[in-house]
């Protein structure tokens, strides 16, 4: 599939999203669809660092919440419109990404993962103690009248379709470029990559920054979606686990893996939330993840590749 073909598919998906938005089906479809698409963005963004470069980030909630709280700050301070919020949330999270990029100089493997997890805890503590954005008691957003669309649910759903398409296209472009090739090299053997003249530090900084950017983008519309944000919901452990589990289930080496993983697991969680209980979500992830690690360690895309090779 060439770049132009991918762009066409991307535009088609956005068109489909708009069509679905116009359809006016049960509002819950948009509500649940938003979450699944949000996970497409999160899983894809996570995978740029965790899958392509092999640096496992446990701090997804930190980036996601930073996007959400940047929005809250800008709504409080400037009544900034949604596009500004998304861009700012992305940029602030990208800065944090750049910061953890420098961590990779000293921390590799599991130590890097632990540091990112700690980052999430530290940031949550800071937010809890920051009254301006709601502190521990949370922040309630009163949404203005919805522009263009029938309801906020439909608007946010359409927005997420577009964000997911953009994120996936960017990840796919990176994967097929020299940057992606260099990231694959440092994932496999960082010292060897260094020998070949691959600029490993610059590539890692690029990966952490870009991954951070899109994780922040995923979190930026969150206040509009839930209208009530508290630290424990923005820094939910679910984001850390899903961000890692979805690419692993789909397969981490290609852009398609996180998309498949997010759609499958995200949908399963939404169905379980309605039919049984949302408390079941983490359990589902856990069981599915164990199954995949044992039966298909390279995810669904890896499994298909293996079967084809035979």
């Amino acid at each position: 599939m060439k770049t132009r073909g991918a762009l066409a598919v991307g535009v088609a998906v956005i068109g489909l999203g708009l069509a679905l938005a116009g359809l006016g089906v049960n509002p819950y479809v948009y509500f649940a669809g938003y979450v699944v698409l949000q996970y497409v963005v999160i899983a894809t963004a996570w995978n740029v660092l965790g899958g392509y470069a092999g640096y496992v980030n446990f701090g997804t909630p930190a980036f996601f919440a930073l996007g959400a709280y940047t929005s809250i700050f800008l709504i409080e301070a400037l009544r900034a419109p949604l596009p500004v919020l998304i861009l700012s949330g992305g940029l602030v999270a990208a800065l944090l990404g750049l910061g953890i990029g420098y961590l990779t100089l000293r921390l590799k493997g599991v130590f890097f993962s632990i540091a990112t997890f700690a980052l999430s805890v530290v940031l949550q503590t800071l937010i809890i103690n920051w009254e301006y954005v709601g502190g521990a008691k949370g922040y309630t957003l009163i949404r203005p009248p919805v522009p263009f669309f029938r309801s906020w649910g439909v608007l946010l759903f359409t927005l997420m379709v577009a964000l997911a398409v953009v994120t996936v296209l960017v990840a796919r472009t990176i994967e097929r470029s020299w940057i992606g090739r260099g990231l694959a090299a440092l994932r496999d053997d960082e010292d060897a990559a260094e020998c070949m003249g691959v600029p490993t530090l610059r590539l890692k900084l690029f990966a952490t920054t870009l991954s951070g950017f899109f994780l922040g983008v995923a979190g930026a519309p969150f206040p509009y979606y839930v209208t009530y944000v508290e630290p424990s919901s923005a820094f939910d452990l679910n984001y850390a686990v899903n961000a890692l589990a979805m690419p692993m289930i789909g397969g981490t080496t290609t852009w398609l893996g996180p998309v498949i993983g997010a759609v499958l697991l995200g949908t399963a969680q939404q169905v379980a939330t309605v039919t049984i209980s949302s408390e079941l979500n983490l359990l589902i992830v856990g069981v599915v993840l164990v199954l995949f690690v044992v039966l298909a360690p390279e995810g669904l895309t890896g499994l298909v590749r293996k079967l084809r090779r035979r």
């Binding site: 090739r181 260099g182 496999d188 053997d189 060897a192 020998c195 070949m196 003249g197 691959v198």
Partner: protein
């Protein structure tokens, strides 16, 4: 390189090492384990900054100091490394490994020329281009490591311990291949090796490094063979 001292933290490995490799030569750097061969190679590649001394490249009357340069710049200057223990990318395919040898923007333009060259010089790599590098045999992996280094169109090839972990027959083959390629591309080769007999097969001359110091400089391989140190370390006389 002149009077180079280098090491890791408080541990000094090289003590005032001076060696010279002239254009078109094959120079062997001989020494048993732990004498500083790899440290010397790493210093040249910019993966280790020497504490003292200078490393430079002279070509066409211009002199380039390598001491403070990054590995990326050094690869751009036409120096490529076949690292010790091969250091392939095991979960990437043979072809991907080769392409990564041409990562530097300057080398990417020559891929269309260099890739067929590599496949011609190493037909087995063409057969296995879609195979994962880690699934090949040791000898094939060493060939791939050499081919990967050539993908950057180097003028100078540094080869660190090509014989490690290979059966003697394969070592002979790898060494012969290096000689063949050297002649074909007019490469300058610096080879660190502990296998004296294999190294002197293709070297024009060599140095013996002991405990981080150059203890002997052999202007010919015959001189090396006659040297007392060689007798002591390698021939057990």
């Amino acid at each position: 390189m002149r009077d180079v001292a280098a090491g890791y933290g408080a541990v000094r490995v090289l003590h005032g090492v001076s060696i010279e490799v002239r254009e078109g030569e094959t120079v062997a750097l001989l020494g048993t384990n732990g004498n500083g061969k790899s440290t010397l190679i790493k210093s040249i590649m910019g993966m280790l900054t020497p504490d003292a001394g200078e490393i430079y490249l002279e070509s066409g009357g211009t002199r380039t100091d390598l001491t403070r340069r990054s590995t990326e710049e050094i690869v751009d200057l036409g120096i490529a490394l076949v690292p010790e223990g091969r250091r392939l990318f095991p979960r990437l395919t043979v072809e991907e490994n080769l392409l990564l040898g041409a990562y530097r923007p300057g080398a990417r333009a020559d891929i269309d020329r260099n890739l067929p060259f590599c496949f011609e010089a190493f037909p087995v790599l063409r057969e296995r281009r879609r195979q994962l590098a880690g699934s090949m045999s040791g000898g094939e992996q060493q060939m791939l490591a050499v081919a990967r280094a050539l993908m950057s169109s180097p003028r100078i090839l540094l080869v660190d311990e090509p014989s490690v972990g290979l059966a003697p027959i394969l070592v002979t083959r790898v060494i012969a291949k290096i000689r063949e390629l050297k002649e074909r591309y007019q490469l300058t080769v610096l080879m660190a090796e502990q296998n004296f007999n294999q190294a002197t097969k293709i070297a024009d001359r060599g140095y013996i490094i002991v405990h981080g110091r150059i203890e002997f400089e052999g202007r010919t391989t015959a001189e090396l063979r006659e040297n007392e140190l060689v007798k002591k370390y390698y021939l057990g006389v």
